[in-house]
């Protein structure tokens, strides 16, 4: 028996609105993509990547496995809501199909099935009933956790996240109400007909004794329907837009669409994909140092709300720790860069004055870079190494140097940087070199990503040293130090070079393993991205990082970045040297030993 009420309308209106909105939104997003991105996306559907995307969509969109890996409780909260609700919908529909032995019924029947079906007596009805109650219970536990998280967050002083927009409030309230209201409505049904299971029947029995069920029965279904309807209508204008957007993002990402240097629809999709899980907060060292407006979760919220981001845009180190931690895999550095470019557009620089350095024919070029010029031991060590190897090297920026352009690009000045890039490119190409060696990760990243140098292999010095040791051209010798290696941001997370420096260091010392290393390595605090960060804040970051290192009691801290070296060296707790200096010391030691053994051999002879 099915009675026809009309409380389903709020639900229906909400659902139809939501789907219509999403379809239009997705079409608009698609139209805004560049021509090549469109082609890429169309081609993508013919490739195997679709399956990988589907797998990710389920793992990240429903199961939230990435969040699970970072935080168990948070993962459970997200999963119970997303996957629990998903199962509730699927199993709910299955239940109706089995009951009615048909596929032909209005899709909202499953949503209000305990109302439409007071006497479920088909085979398996009890199993379905129990399953549905169980799922509802799981979701309710998720809702309880979500409420708890909100209260606890306030205790932790994270007031900024609670600044909800009206639509966020509507969406949040209605989302939290949906499941308790469903429980209420189903329990009242159970009170009448005993058509529920362990949870709803028990509650129903209590209701029938304590409440006038007939008075609130229809109302409860109305409320339940309204809560879903409200949620669906508010969703596109609230932060819950991340749920559908993330799925779109996953597919675009797998289609190989890359972030651009300008704000396009792909950037917008990424921005909307942020679930505000807050994992980036834990990753950001600035948070500990007392800054709480640059972190990605807030930052994305500001741009979504069209708030002024001038300050927070240039106050981030662009260290990439949050990007590495983000379970949604948002390209946070690229989003910031695109906005920095836009914000600093009116500021122009021009370098017509630069004087060309002498052009030499050479095989190998060493470009020290501005920062290495301020850490002369690194330069001298490189010279020592080249000498030992017998390589003839052109020290390209020894005298009249210009910058690589990296720091300009970190400030959003890509157009200005292109002038420097052009100058350097001319010099390098005219030299006929095959290899360009860099000892600064900022330079390395700039040369690798923003220079076009056909036929020239761009090598970071640690990689070059690694090659030389493996080829047997540099000695392996134990210097007897206990060392730790600090991954510079631009080298590790920025360029994904983790193993080569470690191999070099292991060749000369006992390297200790850290917990926070490789992709999770700390930032030294002086990242050139942090344009308007006060020095006190930077110093705090440096101090905390050094404190972490000091716990391991190493003899020496090894870095592969002149800026990291200079920054850490201000803290006197651990001596800091560059990987080139370590290698040069090893060479000296090796040469001394050789001399000694020659002398001893002579002594024995005479």
């Amino acid at each position: 028996m099915i009675r026809e009420p009309n409380f389903q309308y709020p639900f229906l209106i909400g659902t139809i609105f939501l789907f219509a909105y999403l379809i239009v939104r997705i079409i608009l997003w698609y139209i805004e993509l560049s021509k090549y991105d469109k082609l890429r996306f169309i081609h993508f559907w013919k490739t195997k990547s679709v399956w990988a995307a589907l797998k990710d969509a389920i793992a990240d969109g429903l199961l939230h496995s990435s969040i699970f890996k970072k935080n168990l409780l948070l993962g459970y909260m997200h999963m119970s809501l997303a996957f629990g609700w998903f199962l509730l919908i699927v199993i709910g529909h299955l239940e109706v199909m089995v009951d009615r032995r048909s596929l032909n019924f209005p899709f909202y029947y499953a949503v209000f099935y305990r109302y439409y079906q007071p006497h479920p007596d088909f085979a398996g009805a009890r199993v379905f009933g129990a399953l549905m109650d169980l799922l509802l219970l799981i979701i309710l536990s998720g809702v309880a956790l979500a409420i708890l998280k909100r209260i606890k967050k306030q205790i932790f002083g994270m007031k900024r996240t609670t600044k909800l927009k009206p639509f966020d409030k509507i969406a949040l309230t209605s989302l939290w109400l949906i499941f308790p209201l469903r429980l209420l409505a189903e329990s009242l049904s159970a009170a009448y007909y005993h058509n529920g299971s362990f949870m709803s029947n028990t509650l129903g029995a209590w209701f029938i004794q304590n409440v006038r069920v007939s008075a609130i029965y229809d109302l409860s279904w109305w409320l339940y329907s309204c809560s879903i309807g409200f949620f669906f209508i508010a969703l596109p204008f609230s932060r819950y837009m991340h749920i559908p957007t993330e799925i779109v993002f996953i597919f675009l990402r797998h289609a190989g669409i890359m972030p651009k240097k300008y704000w396009n629809s792909y950037a917008q999709i990424q921005m909307y994909s942020c679930s505000r899980c807050g994992i980036c907060l834990d990753a950001c060292q600035l948070y500990e140092a007392g800054v709480s407006n640059v972190q990605s979760v807030y930052f994305l919220q500001y741009i979504r709300n069209n708030e002024n981001v001038d300050k927070s845009l240039f106050g981030c180190l662009i260290c990439g720790r949050c990007q590495e931690a983000c379970p949604v895999h948002i390209n946070l550095n690229d989003l910031r860069t695109a906005l920095r470019i836009k914000a600093s557009k009116p500021l122009t620089f021009s370098y017509g004055y630069t004087q060309m350095a002498l052009q030499q024919k050479t095989d190998i070029i060493y470009f020290a870079g501005c920062m290495t010029h301020l850490t002369p031991p690194i330069k001298f060590s490189m010279a020592r190494i080249f000498n030992f190897l017998g390589e003839k090297v052109w020290y390209m920026d020894e005298d009249k140097s210009i910058c690589c352009g990296g720091p300009l690009m970190l400030a959003g000045q890509y157009d200005s940087a292109s002038q420097l890039i052009q100058k350097n490119t001319e010099l390098i190409m005219a030299s006929g070199a095959k290899t360009l060696i860099l000892s600064c990760p900022i330079c390395y990243k700039a040369f690798r990503e923003d220079y076009v140098l056909p036929g020239i292999s761009i090598k970071f010095h640690a990689v070059y040293l690694n090659d030389m040791i493996r080829q047997g051209r540099l000695p392996k010798i134990n210097l007897g130090f206990k060392t730790i290696y600090h991954d510079p941001c631009a080298l590790g997370r920025g360029s994904k070079i983790y193993d080569e420096p470690r191999y070099v260091i292991d060749s000369y010392s006992q390297r200790m393993r850290l917990k926070k290393e490789k992709a999770e390595a700390l930032c030294c605090g002086a990242g050139l991205g942090g344009i308007n960060l006060p020095i006190e804040t930077k110093n705090k970051v440096t101090f905390e990082a050094m404190t972490y290192f000091a716990r391991f009691k190493p003899n020496v801290l090894i870095t592969a970045c002149p800026l990291c070296k200079k920054t850490f060296a201000r803290d006197r707790r651990i001596p800091v040297i560059d990987i080139a200096e370590l290698t040069a010391r090893a060479i000296d030691e090796y040469v001394n030993e050789q001399k000694k053994s020659v002398r001893e051999a002579r002594l024995i002879e005479s």
Partner: protein, 112 residues
């Protein structure tokens, strides 16, 4: 010829009646560390741009203090934002932010 040549002083007096410190104050508001400059010149000694031209970042901070803001933004176009100055400054002055802000504020004034 650049009017920012350190050795070529345009006037031998400073006209305090015309002292306009508005820009200076605004820059200091944006980058408070700037007020601690002791004009030691370390920044200029190391400056990448100063290696090629008469560009003199210390002098820029000096003339800004004198309120001579004419042509400032134009001269600052030579800076490569490389950050060497910040690294050597004994007073930890965030000169990259100073440069960016002088330009930003001057441009804002121009368009306003």
């Amino acid at each position: 010829m650049s009017t920012f040549d350190f050795l070529k002083v345009r006037r031998l007096y400073i006209d305090y009646d015309n002292l306009d410190q508005e820009l200076l104050n605004e820059v200091i508001r944006e980058e408070p560390s700037f007020q601690w400059c002791i004009s030691c010149g370390c920044c200029t000694a190391t400056c990448s741009a100063g290696n090629h031209t008469t560009f003199n970042i210390r002098r820029i901070s000096l003339i800004l203090r004198r309120g001579e803001i004419e042509g400032l933004e134009e001269e600052l176009k030579k800076c490569m934002l490389c950050g060497k100055c910040t690294l050597v400054c004994p007073r930890d002055i965030q000169l990259r932010n100073v440069v960016m802000n002088i330009k930003k504020i001057v441009l804002k004034k121009k368009t306003a």
